[in-house]
Symmetry: C2
Subunit: 410 residues, 2 copies
């Protein structure tokens, strides 16, 4: 008998009909002798509907109240889901974040889980009930509702799997698993069977939307085996697991892209201590999150400083920079039509040729690289947005990601 | 400085626009130096939408889960309302049933309040916040969500007014107050300025929908001055208060009707001990609530037994009765096209002519009375449904309910 945590996203439970179908799927696993904990998001579209209503009332909605509003979405789905299990003749109980005592900090709309009390879940599992938990939500020690931010239901599922010492955590979604790249961009994309936590962390942080990055980090920390799979088929999806010898041999696992960023360049900055602080303090005080920062050395004491910000914050950032008095700073330029292409794989650790291959392929296609950033297991390049699909296809082909047996290190 | 509890129903807060308008109205009262506690229902239509979804999943939805589902409706409105207060530059906090610790029994979908902890409300009022409380919902001692049944938000508002020793409880609705009869049926209906708790209890139990009967009972018990008024005007509505000398002089206060019932008659029942139990035990075991019961004495040992049941339970009740073996029982007949017309007024206590006048007026209009039931302050007659409007108009006129100075007892 295994203890399984399953998480279903909003598109999987968007209607009463779909909820019934998912409940049947969960019950099939229970009938095989497993204990089932189900974590649900709000119905697809509900969160956006709530945000729309809130914005009609308050331009920048109060975050405490936003959490009260948003948390009502999962309350609807867990109740309907528990009914669906009962309608099928089995027993279930719905539990809200505060009923499970998912205690978080007080950072409304992006809270972090501090502790979970498993008593209520365990007691109900012992009574052979399907336990249906509201994802995405928690409660502070002062009993204020909180939410965990977008993708927060993944985090709830993994956190529950960790504290319950579940045998696995299955994340159900509307795709078959994690792909070598976005199949909507390149049809040759192949589903990945196994991937390491570290690779998945990079893919999630670089734009792959299938799994929330905090959930992956939590899974890595508590060594929770994650299985990302489709709600609509019985096929195996992608296992996200600890690194092992066999997997290490794969050179490159995946290729992802993000079009959510913008680039700003300040030319001829005096390269003196404190200059970076001078530039980035006002940016961060405005609540803008800077991603890549590149400083090119020039002849003499001058340098070019380039960085990326979320595309929505582009104009705001540009205004801040233009109003700064930076000694000797030259032209401020930028672009909000860039894309960041990233290639990820633990195989890179022991292989230096990957970055070179990326640069060569992009050059062959006539694509200019605006920024480069690397880590132990990834290479990211910022390019003009219009070349995104071309770059993805070329890199996917050159690393043979579509092959059933991708190239390994000799 | 007064402490005022205001309750707004679903039609008053059906859209973000309407919520903003209501928030401004509440703030006008706060600016006059009052402490404001606001109790809200779900947006109009939401409860029915939830019930529809639940029924698509489970024919007779699980009641615990139904409460989890329904309680999400007020969570949405209190959050949006608190945002609206903040958008106007004032402070507010939303509180759910479990945050106020509105403890109820475990009778899901029709729970009763056992206790309320005023700490959270009082602390927030001291900080000069508008306190926005979810109506209709509570929580059991085991932390299960419960709801108080239809009209439950009225009950929440009155209960809060009672424990907070509020100066008044204002129930905002889409009509101007309590009317002498349904203005939709008879345009001559007049808004009542003041009515006693007892009269309001009779009107509510006899079909007037403007106030929930449990709320009126609670208001009477704790002597909470109730003011029923319109969300859309500043006019005074109807005060529901303790009886006083001045009010006693009004003969008849209101006239109401209900078309939700059906009548069943069993003729020639043997009038022996235990016969009523034999008839009504299977009815109540089927969960059917019997309202009026009339037993007519006939010559000899025979009697006719007539009673009313909710119209939705008519066929079910008829089937139960037809399958009973009642010694010597004759024909079972009935009608599901009846109406119950009721006339209410504390003046009746000291005046015996009211019932006679009712019977005379109906006879003059050629309306046959099928059943009669009286209490100290009301007379109810069951008639054919098609005569409802005619009966209302005639009785309204004869008791001069439309006059500004209705007749009083000499």
């Amino acid at each position: 008998m295994a203890l399984i945590v399953q998480k279903f996203g909003g598109t999987s439970i968007a209607t009463p009909e779909k909820i019934k179908a998912v409940a049947e799927r969960v019950l099939r696993r229970q009938k095989q002798g497993n204990q089932m904990v189900v974590v649900l998001s709000a119905m697809a579209g509900e969160t956006n509907r709530f945000i729309d209503m809130a914005r009609q009332i308050q331009e920048s909605p109060d975050e405490r109240e936003m959490d009260v509003l948003l948390a009502s979405g999962e309350q609807v789905t867990i109740a309907l889901f528990a009914m669906a299990v009962k309608a099928a003749g089995y027993d279930a109980v719905s539990l809200l974040g505060d009923q499970v005592k998912i205690i978080t900090d007080g950072m409304h709309t992006k809270a972090r889980i501090k502790s979970i009390d498993i008593t209520a879940i365990v007691n109900n599992l012992r009574k052979n009930k399907v336990v249906v938990v509201a994802g995405f939500q928690g409660v502070t020690e002062d009993d204020d509702l909180t939410t965990l931010g977008r993708g927060g239901s993944d985090t709830t599922a993994v956190a529950l799997a960790a504290v319950l010492r579940a045998d696995k955590c299955e994340i159900f979604t509307d795709v078959e698993g994690v792909y070598t790249t976005d199949p909507g961009v390149y049809a040759a994309a192949r589903k990945i069977d196994r991937i390491t936590y570290d690779e998945m962390l990079e893919l999630s942080s670089l734009g792959a939307k299938v799994l929330d990055i905090r959930a992956v980090g939590l899974a890595k920390r508590y060594n929770v085996p994650l299985h990302v799979r489709s709600t609509f088929t019985e096929n195996e999806g992608t296992w996200v697991v600890e690194e092992n010898k066999n997997m290490e041999s794969v050179l490159v696992s995946g290729l992802t892209y993000s079009k959510n960023e913008a680039r700003i360049t300040i030319s001829k900055v005096h390269d003196i201590p404190g200059i970076a602080a001078k530039i980035f303090t006002p940016i961060s005080e405005a609540g803008i999150i800077v991603d890549m920062i590149i400083q090119n050395t020039r002849a003499g004491e001058m340098t070019d400083m380039t960085f990326t910000v979320p595309r929505l914050d582009y104009q705001k950032s540009l205004n801040i920079i233009k109003n700064l008095e930076i000694a000797g700073a030259g032209h401020v330029s930028g672009s909000d039509s860039i894309a960041k292409i990233s290639i990820v794989g633990v195989g890179m650790r022991n292989h230096t040729g990957i970055a070179t291959t990326v640069f060569r392929v992009l050059a062959e296609e006539g694509i200019n690289i605006q920024m480069i950033s690397t880590s132990e297991i990834k290479v990211s390049c910022v390019i003009d947005e219009k070349y995104t699909e071309l770059a993805i296809r070329s890199l996917h082909d050159v690393f043979a990601l579509g092959d059933d047996n991708p190239p390994t290190i000799e």
